[in-house]
Symmetry: C2
Subunit: 516 residues, 2 copies
Amino acid sequence: MNAPPATPARPLCIKLHPSDNVAIVVNSGGLKAGARLEDGLVLVDAVPQGHKVALADIPKGGAVIRYGETIGYATLPLGKGAWVNEFLVELPEPPPLASLPLATNVPAPLPPLEGYSFQGYRNADGSVGTRNILGISTSVHCVAGVVDHVVALIKQRLLPKYPHVDDVVGLNHLYGCGVAINAPAAIVPIRTVQNLTLNPNFGGEILVIGLGCEKLQPERLMPELSPEAARRNILSLQDERFTGFQAMVSGILEMAEARLELLNRRRRETCPAADLVVGLQCGGSDAFSGVTANPAVGYAADLIVRAGGTVMFSEVTEVRDAVHLLTPRVVDEAVGKALIREMAWYDDYLARGSTDRSANPSPGNKKGGLSNIVEKALGSIVKSGTSPIQAVLAPGERATTKGLIFAATPASDFVCGTQQLASGMTLQVFTTGRGTPYGLAAAPVIKVATRRDLAARWHDLMDLDAGRIATGEASIEEVGWELFRLILEVASGKKPWSDVWGLHNALAVFNPAPVT
Amino acid sequence: MNAPPATPARPLCIKLHPSDNVAIVVNSGGLKAGARLEDGLVLVDAVPQGHKVALADIPKGGAVIRYGETIGYATLPLGKGAWVNEFLVELPEPPPLASLPLATNVPAPLPPLEGYSFQGYRNADGSVGTRNILGISTSVHCVAGVVDHVVALIKQRLLPKYPHVDDVVGLNHLYGCGVAINAPAAIVPIRTVQNLTLNPNFGGEILVIGLGCEKLQPERLMPELSPEAARRNILSLQDERFTGFQAMVSGILEMAEARLELLNRRRRETCPAADLVVGLQCGGSDAFSGVTANPAVGYAADLIVRAGGTVMFSEVTEVRDAVHLLTPRVVDEAVGKALIREMAWYDDYLARGSTDRSANPSPGNKKGGLSNIVEKALGSIVKSGTSPIQAVLAPGERATTKGLIFAATPASDFVCGTQQLASGMTLQVFTTGRGTPYGLAAAPVIKVATRRDLAARWHDLMDLDAGRIATGEASIEEVGWELFRLILEVASGKKPWSDVWGLHNALAVFNPAPVT
Ligand SMILES: [Ca+2]
Ligand SMILES: [Ca+2]
Ligand SMILES: [Ca+2]
Ligand SMILES: [Ca+2]
Ligand SMILES: [Ca+2]
């Protein structure tokens, strides 16, 4: 990307919906008190970039309206042209889960989109990977040091001999022992670790390194393996055939080489866009997220769905306050109930920890102009586009349907990424307003900046600049199409910036159960 | 270590206390039905190594007694010579917390031990490190990929220029954002991450890499820094002075080099053993843990306390069922109440997750002969030796007293290790019956095997063989002294096996609060 002017010269605000009584400041550096907008409105306060300006007088207790929805109530009388910051907006109650309309406004199927494809790795089970990776999973964190050790050796000694294998990735995680494995909520981390091994990017040739005495026995981790396949894919360090550390290392390298030989025979082939499984999330959101990056992502999501592919959106705490806008869109009542079940589960999970949804947003969100979780949620769900919601997954469940899916996960970036990998995601699109070097080792991540200034400053970390939408230099549709084409390129092997630099976050398996 | 015969030739069982009605089988491979012990007892079942034999007829519902304590009740009548396995022993109720005797049997101070010292790095605050490490901490996991990237560069480009610096360690963790930071239990991970930066092995020269928009702002992580020191030690990637990734990398390398120059001026100096801060834990315990390794560790713990040093024992779920043996040993009622507070907190934490203490032990513990958590706990607390308990720390609190301290942590090996590092531990002693490659990057870990066969097979992973105690080849006192001397050597710079191979687990900060 070049680094064009990051801000319009004239004072510019964006109002999104006809009934909104606030608009957000586009200009980098914000606007000063006295600045006059095109429509004649004069700012009475200095307002930072991304923050809200009152478009009309709002009485104390009056609704503050953005996206055509109430994002809160004024705690003081707000004059026209005033800065509407987080301290002036009281959080409304969340939508009550018992009385939501289910499948009352299911969108008509979008018109099919033909003729788009990518170069992927087709697996025996019909799924398609965007990468050809030797994955080395673990049944317990105890073995993590050994996995790091052998991954380094494999990269150095073996990988150069197998040029058609893209990478070797150690799937270390903190689960597996020292946990309440029979607690009701333990089902979440267990199936997450299980389903991670099935991610299409590992081509069905994953290794599992276990210790031997752990609670999550390796066989439990890959329950569908035949005993013969288990001998091929699973190794326990406590196995009495190993005398000394070097024997363990040799044993792992031998198993790894056998997998590498098989993986190396694979070639990319032309696959329809219907074989995409794209995960969506945001991190470090700002007030532009819901105006620029997320609508463009929503447009691209619709394109993928129209092409027959799979799109997952996630992040329960960022959906909760806008769930009343989603339940009408589910394909049937069962899916609607599943959506409500996940919201209720999370409400309860937070309550058990004596907290609630106001724990989100972060200071950076607020600095970026997001007053509260309602405003954040309204901007967040825009990523889902306009298609019917076909299915809802509990955390870590695998996707089995095409189309738009709500995959319940925490909003935490690395937890969401890990859970979507378990659900079968092979490429992630990540929108950010504040900026993050986030990346995943097991699947490429395309990062979309909400603002021109971020995209310009982080020119070698951001993959796409959606800030042009706010300045009027590009439309939502244009950036949506750009993103769709970039998804196809990255799915075909192009490296996004996080992979150019090798910036990868750890797996963070969601464990809502206690540790012991 | 050489690899001498791992098992006695004659059938051998160990009874620990005069009132015990079970003994455990010492022989590798176990004993067959019909085997005759020295005292004439004939086994009626085959009994695996480490498992229990009934020394007398035990009626249904009768107490099964080991360590002179009831470890459970027989679920069936057990004949003399029978195998007493986990299915035949019912878990008793845990000691009720409301009625425990506090400070009723405070041990007399042990006789002082003079003349022992090690070569350590003395810090400005009076603490002493066993290593001279450049620590690079993080306020949030988002930056983990960047930290890994710069740590590799520092090792390659900078560390060779600073030969007196032992290592550079990235302190990545999963906390910092996407968490309920205002939940009551969030105090635990917050102070853990804070106190990690103060570990004596970092010499007060730690760097903190932040993102900028995270909930746990870097300034909150190091609250005692002056603004000037904060500029020297803290860097946020979102700082607008950085244009592009390479600028961030250069910024970090510059700060790192300034720290390395200071750390490189440090030299080891003779420090009394009173400056040791040794953490204790076990992992992959078996029935020998409480007979061989843990008693030897307990003996060494007493030597450290006698020398004026600090010893931490931990692992709440493995102490809970033997807490009635600890509360009499606390120095005063306040410390006793703190010990009970930590037990009650954990009971409640497990109950909130709809589980209880029976979630521990693991399958490997059971395979090793430990029937249940009571038997495991009785064997575990032996590590604490015989001195008075001077203080109790809530998870992640820093030690401020010398002597024996109970530092409350989960039993999970890597969580316990992380929490003890936060409490100021500079060297850890780890006992294991099943074997684990566990290690920590920030402090050396001495691994003590409970059995000869494990020590022989894992000859280059285990640092000390306590199995000789079971076979009668060495006494508890002898192995205890060996361990004490090894602690002084390792504290002076000798590398235990995990550091020879570079096998290190990730930090696993204890977060009992929800993620969001
Ligand atoms: Ca988000
Ligand atoms: Ca997120
Ligand atoms: Ca990647
Ligand atoms: Ca333990
Ligand atoms: Ca442990």
